[in-house]
Amino acid sequence: MSKKNEEYDFKWCPGCGDFGVRRALEFAMIDRLEETGLPMENNVVVAGIGCSGNLVHLLEGPQPYGFHGIHGRGLPIAFGVKMARPELNVVVVAGDGDFLSIGGEHLAPQAARNLNICAVIMDNGVYGLTKGQSSPTTALGQITSSTPYGKLESALNPLELYLTLGVSFVASGFSGQPRLLANLIKQGMDHPGFAIIHVQSPCTTYNDTYEALKGNAKKGIEPLLWEVPGEHDSSSRSAAFESLHRPGVPVGVIYRDTARPSLEQRLAETHKKVAPKTVEQLMDTFAF
């Protein structure tokens, strides 16, 4: 919403990482607007359910179209929007529970299609809106309200999953660096295929990881975040997998394959080879 809507009563907690992600997305969309001259209405932000999904109502400035759908289905809704109108810039915003748990089944198909959209994932390692249950990225043994004796499942490594599935653009970022993150999101939007920007976006109420991510020299805590070095070969799948062996959370582009055509490009190629029949002609194939 472009100005304060008194009726809309949802608030993120103070310090929530999602504020930074929202700012970064606004920056990226404004950059795109300035670069392409296309109006803000050319963007569609598709959101799932959870704290992350509310981002679509909290965007400030000129407004994109939004679709605040149902839990876990951001990707297939975005698929429908994009294939209906390939000229639109389609962005999915989702949390780790929405994207990787209930919505996990939609990842592999979009990767195989190389659907030309950009997904921005706010990973806080917890279900926040339902008050602190474990998510796929919650650490093994971590105590949450739904794992009172410690989590029994290993934590998922989302970046490895994306690479394994063949996502053609994989980046990792941190909500506390909105300008840097905006740059990653912009690159993801410009990428001609399926892009995922996986963002560490801490939950100050149920899983405050700020200190662990940024480190604390006074306490002798080394930061988990590390910058992807300039010499990293993001065009190499094996280099991408290799880079993830380093502990911690990378910041930067891990993998980028620009050679693979997107679904809409493949569709356009196919349509060149097929001559559509009119309804009248189709009916006549049943005539006798």
């Binding site: 009563d9 939004g66 698929f79 429908g80 929007v81 198909p109 559509p276 009248e280």
Partner: protein, 571 residues
């Protein structure tokens, strides 16, 4: 006396020619001007398994597959044993003597189907041996069949003439072998050639063509019997600039993808059957809530869960009308014939555009797989509707007021959030009681835009009426015709609009003593809905996985009518 129609059942193992014989007979008959209907039922497996089909050839439009067969063609022993009682008195059984031998059965005649076909040098002409034999039984001129064969196989290939010759030889061999047996069934009356061009096609094909005629832009689906043929049709034919057809990974993807496309301004549709429909539940609620035009086709099959994937039933009505949690009641159109598949699809897409929301188009296995001749639709008379599009500036309140409002299209001014959470006029989430009241009333008010006044009505003065829905229309109509001849005093009502029901029709139905509703489910689902509207409805149910037989309906409608008449006299 000449026979006005001719019913043949073909039974055997999948792959023996059960389907090609039935379809060949229907095609040959329609080509010379008969009306034809072919009903098929398959086992749920790729190859083989007990399969049967039934073709009905008639001088007048055919409404049902026919109760009892004039002829049974049994391709194997199992088929003979399971279907021999379906042959009427005086009928004939042709059994495949290449496959098995029968002891003396005065009603049966052996035909060496496979051997005769092979002797023509074309083993694939087995169905022509059968058709030749059948033609003899009803004295159908050989020239009809030869014309059909020539037309069917002349495709500009070098081997055309050889294929035509062997097929005609097969027809002749079949005819001669039956002629030498001395069996006859009767003489089929000559065709009364229907006016105008005809198409011979299956329900799912007619439905797909209707959707294209209504301007469908985007189709997304997942394979499921008996809806798969719609996906296959769309993948092949919904192509070209601005069009998109795609097989996705689940029915959850189907419904959410068409939600995205409907939001983006396109006419979008998917088709599925029971299990897939269940997976779409939440997405349908979202379409209702966020006011997104789309069409979901439910090709009903039998039973809950996996149920009977290749059998027919009408047991999804409650699920279609109330598919989701919360206050939701979706518009439902249920088609009752192959021709209605075409026009029902157009209406469903028009409704979705008109009221900006999801519409359910119900059909069923017995229509989906039924081949029938229909008059070729005149596209210049098809009315295609488009949604009201917002054409203003940014800052628009998309969900304002208590009634339908124009819908912005992404890419253009009027950006808003389509929201599945309860929302205010801008689309932002809210929990205000007054807003939930407004939006709930807004969503339900739009249904009024779909009230139509088209319905069938005969003898409206009668206080007892027969009112089928969906695919039970055909057998019910035939039963009604029989009952009229017998002088039973009842009326006839029918509509494909199950929600909203045409208001004028509903008012009339409320005046009736009894509205008899034949439907293929255990609970009497439509009768129960009608009762909730204050109609004295009584269901005739059947849940065998097969369509109604006309004779059963005649008997049961008579029973209900007689007992009601007695009560009325007593009162």
């Amino acid at each position: 006396m000449q026979m006005p129609d001719f019913v043949v059942r073909f039974a055997g193992e999948g792959g023996q020619g059960v389907v090609t014989s039935a379809e060949g007979l229907a095609q040959a008959a329609t080509q010379v001007g008969y009306h034809a209907l072919t009903f098929a039922t398959f086992p749920s497996q790729i190859l083989g398994g007990p399969t049967w089909t039934q073709s009905r050839i008639s001088t007048t439009p055919v409404l049902s597959p026919g109760d009892a067969a004039d002829v049974l063609v049994a391709f194997n022993r199992e088929a003979y044993d399971s279907h021999k009682d379906e042959v009427r008195e005086g009928g004939v059984i042709i059994y495949n003597s290449s496959d098995f031998q029968l002891e003396e059965d005065p009603q049966s005649v052996g035909l060496a189907i496979d051997d005769l076909a092979k002797s023509t040098g074309n083993a694939r002409a087995a169905n022509m041996v059968v058709i030749g034999a059948l033609a003899h039984l009803v004295n159908m001129p050989q020239i009809y069949l030869e014309e059909f064969v020539t037309k069917r196989f002349r495709r500009g290939r070098a081997e055309d003439e050889q294929i035509i010759t062997s097929n005609i030889a097969a027809l002749t061999l079949g005819r001669e072998q039956i002629a030498s047996s001395g069996f006859v069934v009767g003489e089929l009356a000559p065709p009364l050639i229907p006016e105008g061009k005809q198409l011979l096609l299956k329900g799912n094909e007619a439905l797909s063509l209707g959707a294209l005629a209504a301007g469908l832009d985007l189709y997304v689906g997942y394979p499921i019997s008996p809806a798969t043929t719609i996906l296959v049709f769309m993948e092949r034919n919904l192509v070209g600039p601005g069009k998109f057809a795609y097989q996705v990974s689940s029915e959850i993807e189907s419904i959410t993808a068409i939600l995205g496309a409907g939001f983006a301004g396109k006419k979008a549709m998917t088709a599925t059957a029971g299990p897939g429909f269940s997976l779409m539940s939440e997405g349908l609620g979202l379409a209702w809530m966020a006011e997104i035009p789309l069409v979901v086709v439910d090709v009903q099959r039998g039973g809950p869960a996996t149920g009977l994937p290749t059998k027919t039933e009408q047991s999804d009505l409650m699920a279609c009308m109330f598919p989701a949690h919360g206050d939701v009641k979706l518009p439902v159109i249920a088609v009752g014939s192959v021709e209605e598949c075409f026009y029902g699809a157009i209406k469903a897409l028009n409704w979705a555009e008109r009221y900006q929301g999801p519409v359910i188009l119900m059909t069923e296995m017995s229509l989906a797989e039924r081949a029938q001749n229909i008059p070729k639709p005149d596209l210049s008379r098809v009315l295609v509707e488009h949604r009201q599009v917002y054409q203003g500036h940014n800052g628009y309140h998309r969900y304002q007021g208590y009634e339908l409002s124009p819908m912005p299209i992404p890419g253009n001014p009027g950006a808003y959030v389509a929201n599945g959470s309860e929302h205010d006029e801008m689309g932002d989430t809210t929990h205000l009681p007054s807003r939930h009241v407004q939006m709930t009333e807004r969503r339900f008010s739009k249904i009024k835009l779909l009230e139509e006044n088209e319905y069938e009505r005969e003898n409206p003065q009668e206080s007892i009426v027969l009112m089928p829905w969906g695919g039970s229309k055909g057998p019910a109509r035939e039963a009604y015709n029989v009952l009229m001849e017998q002088g039973l005093g009842i009326g006839w009502y029918y509509t494909m609009f199950l929600n909203p029901v045409p208001p004028r029709m509903l008012e009339e139905l409320k005046q009736k003593e009894v509205v008899i509703v034949p439907e293929l489910n255990y609970q009497g689902q439509f009768a129960s809905i009608l009762r909730s509207y204050g109609v004295r409805a009584q269901a005739i149910t059947q849940y065998t996985g097969l369509p109604f037989k006309v004779s059963d309906l005649v008997k049961r409608v008579t029973e209900i009518t007689r007992s009601q008449q007695k009560e009325m006299v007593r009162a």
